[in-house]
Symmetry: C2
Subunit: 121 residues, 2 copies
Amino acid sequence: MVQHPPTHLDASFAALSDATRRGVLEQLGRGDASITDLAEKFRMTLTGMKKHVGVLEQAGLVATEKVGRVRTCRLGGRRLEEETAWLEAYRQRWAARFDALDEVVEELNRKEQSDGRTQRK
Amino acid sequence: MVQHPPTHLDASFAALSDATRRGVLEQLGRGDASITDLAEKFRMTLTGMKKHVGVLEQAGLVATEKVGRVRTCRLGGRRLEEETAWLEAYRQRWAARFDALDEVVEELNRKEQSDGRTQRK
């Protein structure tokens, strides 16, 4: 059995699987914003936006701070390094796998051509 | 409002948010495997593994082919290019954001030191 150590990957990939949440991260990359700002920008109820921000906060992608009645959101401490590393490793395996298939196909083509020549002789 | 074109990102990030599914992709990067092989390797019921493979197939990350009674799984056509590009862009925004914060902190420190010197005079 392949062992998988517990990682943050489940939570962060799940957080990234929603277009609004990715949009919120893009927005916060441009500057901090209150939940109200975000709800307005994404034409969403405050409750809906709070839920999305909650998911991002749980995954460490957003940090929030409440001053008075305003909760301000900013990018969290996680740089998505592990996630990027996983994708990079996947892409390398993917390329290696498809290169190997290409070689098999080429080998078969060469064999077919050489068999064809043999038969024509 | 920030517009988000429909992308594959929702489905692929959701597919990647499970350790078993990531494990299956890693396994298929090493070689094709039947659902039965995968179920065994991940100590899971056939039904459970079929569900996971279904999610990966829907996201275009796995392709399956049934020959006789055996369904063989291999890596799908998607190289996760869009996903990698999204993460890269995020990391750049993240770095820019935290660099900007660092500058503010340094500026405050400099100001504090210079104020300190002024007060000591």
